[in-house]
Structures are given as C-alpha cells and as structure tokens.
Amino acid sequence: MYVAVKGGEQAIDNAHRLLAEERRGNPEQQEISVAQISGQLALAVDRVMAEGSLYDRELAALAIKQARGDMIEAIFLLRAYRTTLPRFGYSEPLRSDRMQVRRRVSATFKDLPGGQLLGPTFDYTHRLLDMTLLDDGEPSAQPAAERVGESSDGPLPRVVDLLNDEGLIETETPADERDVGDLTRESLTFPAGRDLRLQNLARADEGFLLGLGYSTQRGYGNNHPFAGEIRMGEVAVEFVPEELGFPIEIGEITVTECQMINQFQGSEQAPPQFTRGYGLVFGQSERKAMSMALVDRALRASELGEEAENPAQDEEFVLYHSDNVQATGFVEHLKLPHYVDFQSELTVLRRLRADFETASGPVPEAAE
C-alpha cells in the first residue's frame, strides 16, 4: 500500500520544467514537428495507435513527441485521451478481402492469383547502416518504380479462402447472432471468447506477444505454423449512421493482417486439418500481426481439445499480462512512497530478529 504524502510541490514543478527542457533537446536544433513524426517515424506512430487502441495519426505522433519517444508513455497518453471522447457507434466489420493491398506474401503458396507483392519491406535489406542518411540530404535513392499496364488494384481474394477447394483448411463462419464482447466496457471473465481474446491481442504489447509467439515455436505449445498470408494496405471504414440507415465510407485506415495455418492432428470431434490463427493490427506491423496470429492459435488449445500446459496457451496468463499500460502501472507504482508499509515490515523484522537471537544466541558478524 502506498499513502498520500504532502510536500514536494516545488520540486515536482521544477522536475516538470526540467523535463520540458530535456524534451526540447538542444535549442540550436530545429524542433521536430508532429507532421514530421507522422510522416518519417510512421511505424512508431502505427505502434502507438495499435497499442493505444485509437486510430489517429496526428494524436499518436503528438503523443510520441510529448513522451520524448518513450513508446509506452505515448501509448498511455493516447489511452488516457480516448477516455475523454464519446463513442458514436461501431463500424461494419472491416473487409480485408477488399483491401487496397500494398504488400502481400504467402509462405505456403508460390503461385497465388495476384502474385506475391513485396511492397515497402525491410526484408532483403542488408541491415547495414546507411551513412548517406546522416547528412540530412535528399535521399539518393530513385523514386519508387511503377509498373504500368498491370495493376494490382482489384481486390485480392484471401489466400486461405482461395486455395481451399479440398476443405483441408478450417473455414471461419460469421456467427453474427453472437454479441461482440468489449473489454473497454466490461471486465474480463474467463473463459474469454475469441472475440475478447482478439481484442485484447490487437492492443497487446508487441514485445510481449513476440516473446510468447516465439515461445510456441521453440516448443512451448508448438503448433507448426505456416504464414498462409500476410497482407498490408488500406481498408475502407464503413459506418451506418442512425439518421441515414445505410452504410457510408467515412475514410480508410491502414492495417496488417496475418493468416497463420497450423497443423492439427484432429480430435474426436474434428478430422485432421489445418487450423488457423489470426492477427489483425492497426498500421503496418507484420511482427505484431504474426505474433498475434501465433498466440491466437495457441489460445485455441482447449477449444481444439489440445493440452494447454504452456504459457502462450494459458488464457488468464496471456490476457492479464499483455496490456502494457496496465503492466507499467503496476510495476512502476513500486516507486511511489511505500514508507508506512516499509516501516511496519521493519518493525516486524526487528522483532523476528530479536526472537531468533534469544533462541539461538547472537547472529555472527558478517564475514570480513
């Protein structure tokens, strides 16, 4: 337990002034603008939107600037801001099959209709620091190439739907009669449905999911994954305003989707088939989408009649520890004054120590 203490107002005020000065950095350097962060640190902005669970590039960029690049602090700021806004409603489910795809790869099918589109990827770069970027100069690279004539503009069907004539891959059915759980409105109860799990994972800490996903690959709940399809691009957001009664597009957002295909031996209820894990994340974040898909599949263990004996398969463990705002709140609260708690522990310890010495003679001095 921590207790309120008085005093220190001047120190706190000065600490915040010092923070503001440090945030600004060297005043001889130009101040970084929110538009620059949004445009040039775009993937940092994507992460803050995803884990802050609020899609707004400008606000996420502002949060990064204010937090001095501390991502979890920025995510915290965005989460706090969203509590000040009213909710006008719910979108129609996003249609990733109608995405304007900017990247799409499959590790399972080489010749898929529409092809493998690498898009703006770090893959196949040599991971050598590019010293030309040190010089603030215009990039020496050529502008992006364009391929005329053949356009990939038409919607690309999802690989898992397309190449499943034999029904060897599990199919997903809509089940729209079921309510959609919302963990921002009601607290988690277990077992949580897949809807709540996916909502939790979509806003979960990328590092936590990456570690858990990795653990499944290393044998802690292995489910033999293949990246059936990863796609990134823009999807329209459709909304039905009450006064109109029909859906309109109100804009578009960037998302990354991962369809993981996993070996499954079958159970008493289900024949042997490939099962699926799903990842869907705001912005361009393949690492997060892939990790999410691995963990989603691992969390389906009990549904599929598998032994759930590893951390990634343990729903309570995963869902209760995945949120970095909650986690940082509880870890960091340890630095708040615990003076009274500690004093009482000291008193208890002194008494125990005295009892111990009475019973067994004086404690020897520490070794020299």
Partner: protein, 145 residues
C-alpha cells in the same frame, strides 16, 4: 445509391479539396447547424480469420455534423479524424446535393473530379505495388543428365 456514393467520396477526399469545392458554390448558401461539428470515436470491428466471428479491433476518431440549408434539405457529414470543418462542409454539400437545382452542377464540378482524383491516387499506389511483384522462375538443378 448516389447519396451513399457522394458521402463516401467527400469523406475520402482531402479537407482542402472539399473546402475548395465549397468555395465554388454560388451564391454561397446560408444554413444553420442542427448538430455542431463534434468529435468522438467509432469502435472498429474485424472478423476472426477475416470472415468469422466479429471482434472489436480498436477505436478511431470520427467527426460528425448536421446542417440544414435555409429553405432546403438536411445534410449529414461523417469523417474519420478530428476535422470539424471537413465534417461541416460534407454536411453542407450533402444537403445541397439533395437539391435538384444544385445536384447536377455539384456532381459535375465537385464529386466527379474528387472521385477521379482518388482513383488516380489509388492507381499510382497500385502501380508502385505492382512493381514489387515477385516473378518466380524455376532454378534448374544441374544433375539431370
């Protein structure tokens, strides 16, 4: 449905393009706000596996506005982001587009060019993406003789 189409096109256009379009309307219409521009959020939904059970993915900011043109129709504006002016101007154009005396002019002068600009932008993006398409060829292994 054309209303659905123009509302979508206006929401997907840049705020500046919509503001420029409003400026071309003569005479400038007078209207009152039924619901002043207001920013809030919309919960975005996905489906498990893309086609399965619905789930809440996360929220997005959204601005809405409703206007009534004097002696004319009611218009509604909805747009992602925090953009009060954009939402108000969509609502105004929505009201005017329902008015047969404005409709065709506005469609030709505003909606059609915005739709064309958006198509061009999507096309350019698609061509850049298409240039990154992998052309596989089969490596011939040398032991087959």
């Amino acid at each position: 449905m054309r209303r659905q189409e123009w509302l979508s096109i206006l929401a997907q256009a840049s705020p500046k393009a919509v503001a420029d379009a409003v400026r071309t309307v003569t005479p400038q219409p007078s209207y009152k706000l039924l619901r002043a521009p207001e920013s809030g959020m919309i919960m975005l939904r996905g489906r498990a596996g893309g086609s399965g059970r619905r789930f809440n993915l996360g929220e997005a900011t959204l601005t809405r506005c409703s206007v009534k043109v004097d002696g004319g129709s009611i218009g509604h504006g909805y747009v992602l982001g925090r953009s009060p002016q954009h939402a108000e101007q969509i609502a105004l154009l929505d009201a005017l587009l329902q008015d047969p005396s404005h409709h065709q002019d506005l469609w030709d002068a505003v909606i059609a060019p915005l739709a064309k600009a958006r198509a061009a932008e999507k096309d350019s993006k698609a061509r850049k993406t298409a240039a990154t398409k992998v052309d596989f060829f089969t490596m011939v292994r040398g032991e087959s003789e």
